[in-house]
């Protein structure tokens, strides 16, 4: 039950009994309730704000508006928070922006008081149109008038070779526009913050994917030392990116608790979540491919337009995957932004590649039909052995094996070559496939591992449990390095009093935190064994370190001498210390992409079988098979759940999800789970996820890479390609709506 074993979740019992403590479950004595009143307009100056009704309402102890809120230091421009903070001026920049914060002694009273706030605005026209400007007929020259976001961790534009010339002379070429709508993360747990002050020291219980980010941004905004802020996040009810950045409500709740002189809890409503913690921008992709008649790519060009909030700068590298996925001598990618009146967009599972992959993999499918070639064969023919943009070797890549494994498990060879060839009753049947791909992001992390005198082991790291299985795989990793059964190992996490770890985003925790835990556990093993051989009371006194062997129950013997026996627990007990502990850490070196001499990605091949109901155009994914090349898998059971979960995200992206906007009013209009459709149980067919055997020695000392976002790539394109195969209708705009498939 160590690395590679199918250990059931160690926090399973807590989660199935309702005893896992999520942020809003935290019991704090004297807790008061904060509720926002928010702006119904998107761009305005507040001319008057009547809060008298709210102030007089029963139970209200504090009302904060831009008139009385103490001034905050806005976060510096950059990645991870917003420079614009509500309740600091009379300016409204997005619909849903808080205009008042009510604190009352009960939730019902706070909600009621918030409803009594009466603003009046001088309204300006809001900018909310995005896709409308880039319809199929839009002038390509619009692109050149747009801005570039240069603050980021990657290049907005890249160019190798001469794609324009190569496209001009290519025997076969195509140029297509693909679009995707706005999407919202919609974790089942709405964002929540509880702020509790003890003098000048602040404790924040917070729904965050990065307790350290919250600590530094909140401390900065309130003018506190980082050490005076403690951030706690024990269990997260999902995040998918929307809890990765630090948002205004987290800062404002801390401020309100200080001003109200009481502990305060704020839980965003589902509706408020659509304008409080980011979204995934709608994107427009212009993809051009040039190829020889035998299907070798000679040119790839991918231009992306995405949105940013008016004052902010968030980089979304939707064409990043296009830079590496296929061998080609001429590749160009560009990213431009349109400024909108919204909260800042942010990363959403899967960012970057998760969006651009749909466009490129759809275009590859179109090219395959143009060439009369099997879509899988076209991918294999353009298999990249080195990164085509940088020329670097891949740190590891077993995509070819993944293509073959996936194709075999799926039964791809049964595919009819022509579209609209197979029917099953009233269903049109189609097969589609796509390549999955995700950049590897890694963040420095630290951990401590302690062995107590009763033999129990505690891993401590300031990481977060968001559902990915950190509470399970970190004990597994520690147990593996210590040589014991993981049932003896627990983890304490989600607290800035613990060793600092990276954020739970970018599919990075297994590499960053996992490697730090492995390092600490390896050092702990050594420390305990050294203590034993130096201890006259130990049967192992003066044994050779290299000879020692640890057994799953924690017994230690020299190899081949089972009777000369000591035990981890006994060594700690004799040491007179409560516990023996060791600290470990790991950093990738370099910048966030810090991949040095290697190009570092995870890969996969996704195959789907769709059924399109002929009369109503309703698409169902009957089956989805994914085969992945993603480094060493620590726990196949939890890993498979991540991959199939990602597939369902792909189903949502392809068929259901879109935040509708009203360009006139400047707002998202479908701000609830009835208007914004996420997949439900009955939407999902058979899903299968497989991993090829792989160890990536460069990605992390564990040989592991990240998987959380990879599973959400490739699927939407495979579905769109299968829909074409089923119906002969090429849909280039997500989500695929039934009406697009009729007639």
């Amino acid at each position: 039950m160590r690395i590679g074993s199918e250990l059931s979740r160690k926090d399973g019992r807590l989660k199935v009994t309702g005893s896992a403590t999520y942020t809003a479950d935290t019991q704090v004595p004297g807790l008061h309730y904060a509720v926002f009143a928010t702006s119904a307009v998107a761009s305005a100056t507040i001319e008057a704000l009547d809060t008298s009704g709210a102030e007089r309402a029963p139970g209200v102890v504090y009302v904060m508006t831009h008139h009385n809120a103490p001034r905050l230091r806005p976060p510096a421009p950059g990645f991870g928070s917003m420079t614009f903070l509500p309740l600091q001026s009379d300016q409204i920049r997005y619909e849903g922006q808080p205009i008042a914060l009510i604190v009352a002694d009960s939730l019902e009273r706070a909600m009621h008081a918030a409803s009594l706030v009466r603003p009046s605005y001088a309204v300006r026209p809001a900018q909310m149109s995005m896709l409308e400007r880039f319809g199929p007929d839009a002038d390509a020259a619009v692109f050149d008038t747009l801005e570039t976001v240069t603050q980021g961790y990657d290049e907005p534009d890249t160019r190798t070779g001469d794609p324009d010339a190569a496209l001009g002379s290519a025997p076969v070429s195509l140029s297509r526009r693909y679009t995707m709508g706005f999407r919202h993360h919609n974790p089942m747990e709405p964002s929540a913050t509880i702020a509790s002050w003890d003098g000048d020291r602040l404790t924040l219980y917070d729904t965050t994917q990065h307790v350290w980010g919250v600590r530094s941004v909140v401390a900065e905004a309130l003018g506190l030392a980082a050490d005076d802020v403690r951030v706690v996040s024990l269990f997260l009810g999902g995040g998918f990116g929307c809890k990765g950045f630090v948002w205004p409500h987290e800062i404002l709740t801390a401020l309100a608790a200080r001003e109200a002189r009481r502990p305060v809890k704020l839980v965003l409503t589902r509706s408020q979540m659509y304008a409080a913690c980011g979204y995934q921008s709608a994107t427009v992709h212009d993809v051009a491919l040039g190829a020889s008649r035998d299907g070798r790519l000679v040119a790839v060009a991918h231009d992306v337009v995405y949105a940013n909030a008016v004052p902010e700068a968030f980089p979304e590298y939707a064409a990043a995957g296009t830079r590496t996925v296929y061998a080609c001598p001429a590749i160009a990618t560009r990213h431009r932004v349109v400024k909108l009146n919204t909260i800042q967009p942010t990363a959403m599972r899967a960012p970057n590649e998760g969006m651009g992959n749909f466009a490129l993999e759809s275009a590859m499918d179109e090219l395959a039909y143009e060439l009369g070639m099997d879509p899988l064969e076209l991918r294999l023919r353009n298999y990249a052995e080195r990164d085509p943009t940088t020329g670097k070797p891949y740190s590891s890549k077993k995509l070819r094996e993944a293509y073959h494994l996936g194709a075999e498990r799926f039964g791809w060879s049964r595919r009819a070559p022509h579209p609209r060839a197979v029917r099953d009753g009233n269903d049109l049947v189609g097969y589609g496939m796509a390549t999955a791909l995700m950049t590897t992001y890694r963040f420095p992390s630290a951990a401590r591992v302690r062995m107590r005198a009763d033999g129990s082991v505690v891993v401590e790291s300031g990481t977060q449990e968001i559902g990915t299985g950190v509470r399970t795989i970190m004990p597994q990793i520690a147990a593996d390095r210590l040589g014991i059964d993981p049932q003896h190992v627990e983890i304490v996490l989600g607290d800035t009093t613990l060793p600092e770890a990276g954020g739970t985003f970018g599919s990075s925790s297994t590499m960053g935190v996992g490697s730090a835990v492995a390092d600490a556990a390896t050092k702990l093993r050594l420390a305990i064994l050294r203590t034993a051989i130096a201890d006259k009371a130990s049967p192992l006194y003066e044994a050779r370190l290299e000879d020692l062997e640890v057994h799953p129950d924690g017994a230690v013997t020299p190899r081949g001498s089972p009777t000369r026996r000591d035990a981890y627990a006994a060594v700690v007990a004799r040491s007179g210390r409560e516990a023996i502990e060791a600290e470990g850490s790991w950093a990738p070196g370099g910048d966030v992409l810090g991949t040095g001499d290697y190009a570092m990605y995870t890969f996969g091949a996704v195959f789907v079988d769709v059924r399109v109901e002929a009369d109503f155009g309703i698409t169902r994914v009957a089956r989805c098979v994914g085969a992945y090349s993603a480094g060493r898998i620590i726990n196949p059971k939890t890993a498979r759940s991540q991959m199939t979960g990602g597939m369902i995200w792909g189903i949502g992206q392809a068929l259901l999800e879109q935040s509708e906007t009203d360009a006139e009013l400047g707002r998202f209009v479908s701000k609830n789970l009835a208007g914004y459709l996420v997949p439900a149980n009955a939407d999902v067919g058979a899903l299968e996820a497989y991993f090829v055997d792989e160890v990536d020695p460069h990605a992390s000392p564990l040989g592991a890479k990240g998987i959380g976002e990879l599973g959400a790539t490739g699927v939407a394109a495979a579905i769109a390609n299968a829909v074409y195969h089923a119906t002969g209708v090429r849909v280039r705009d997500l989500p695929i709506r039934p009406e697009l498939l009729l007639g």
């Binding site: 009994t17 009143a37 999902g238 059971k637 991540q642 199939t644 609830n672 789970l673 439900a680 149980n681």
Partner: protein
């Protein structure tokens, strides 16, 4: 222009409207073990919630969930002392007449295992049992349940021994973050009872047949009122199926 808070309707449609005119009523309403009439009635009471003191809130009395709120001696606007029976224990609480059962369980009684995902009947995270039937605790007021037996996730394994449904959820990895899990499990338990009682669903081929099989389409359909954004649906179906078989066997049913 009023503030666009959720509670005024300022810039938002009313919760009841959005819920009952949901664009996918077939799947959102399914699995809620109330009749559609009861469901609408419950939603209407939610809609009628603010302002405080409007009256019309139900007093005590024996009734199935979601009904009879019209017959009332007015409660409020001041919070009132009520008694709720939860997991077999009586709790005296001060409840605002506007307080939902969900908020009362969580904020007053301290039973936080029941979760709030949407507060408007769209996600199933708040599923509890009232008199043995599943309901959405966000869609009903606490004061309507003073005569009812309420069961929450905390009440299904009182002696520390996991219920077979809970054990199957762990075995099949039927959750990731775990936030929807209480609601999923409460729905799964109710679903097994509904099947046992032979109650058909939209996935039932022959709604006049006396018995309903615990098939995968039935489970998918009846679990579709419980959203899981971590997207553990196939594992949930497998867990419910296994638990259903385990629960059915000892009693010799079928």
């Amino acid at each position: 222009m009023s503030a666009g808070s959720d509670y005024t309707g300022g810039g938002n449609l009313s919760p009841a409207l959005l819920t009952t005119t949901s664009v996918t009523p077939d799947r959102r309403d399914e699995g809620v073990a109330l009749s559609r009439h009861d469901f609408l009635a419950g939603a209407a009471s939610w809609n009628a919630r603010p302002p405080a003191g409007a009256g019309g809130m139900g007093g005590a009395g024996s009734r199935p969930p979601g009904t009879s709120f019209h017959r009332a001696e007015a409660l409020g606007p001041e919070p009132a002392r009520i008694t709720l029976t939860v997991n077999g224990r009586r709790h005296d609480v001060i409840a605002d007449p506007r307080a939902t059962l969900l908020d009362t369980l969580r904020e007053r009684i301290g039973l936080t295992g029941t979760k709030k995902g949407c507060d408007r009947g769209e996600c199933g995270a708040c599923t509890v049992h009232v008199n043995g039937r599943r309901i959405l605790a966000c869609m009903t007021l606490a004061v309507m349940h003073t005569a009812d037996e309420i069961t929450t996730i905390e009440g299904i394994a009182p002696d520390g021994q996991l219920h077979p449904v809970q054990a199957a959820f762990i075995e099949h990895d039927a959750f990731q973050c775990g936030y929807c899990t209480s609601g999923q499990i409460m729905s799964a338990l109710a679903l097994l009872d509904e099947i046992r009682r032979g109650e058909p669903s939209a996935a039932t081929d022959d709604v006049t047949a006396p018995a309903v099989m615990l098939s995968e389409p039935e489970i998918r359909e009846r679990m579709s009122g419980n959203l899981c954004r971590c997207s553990c649906y196939p594992q949930i179906v497998a867990a419910v199926r296994q638990a259903g078989d385990a629960v059915a066997e000892p009693s010799g049913a079928g």
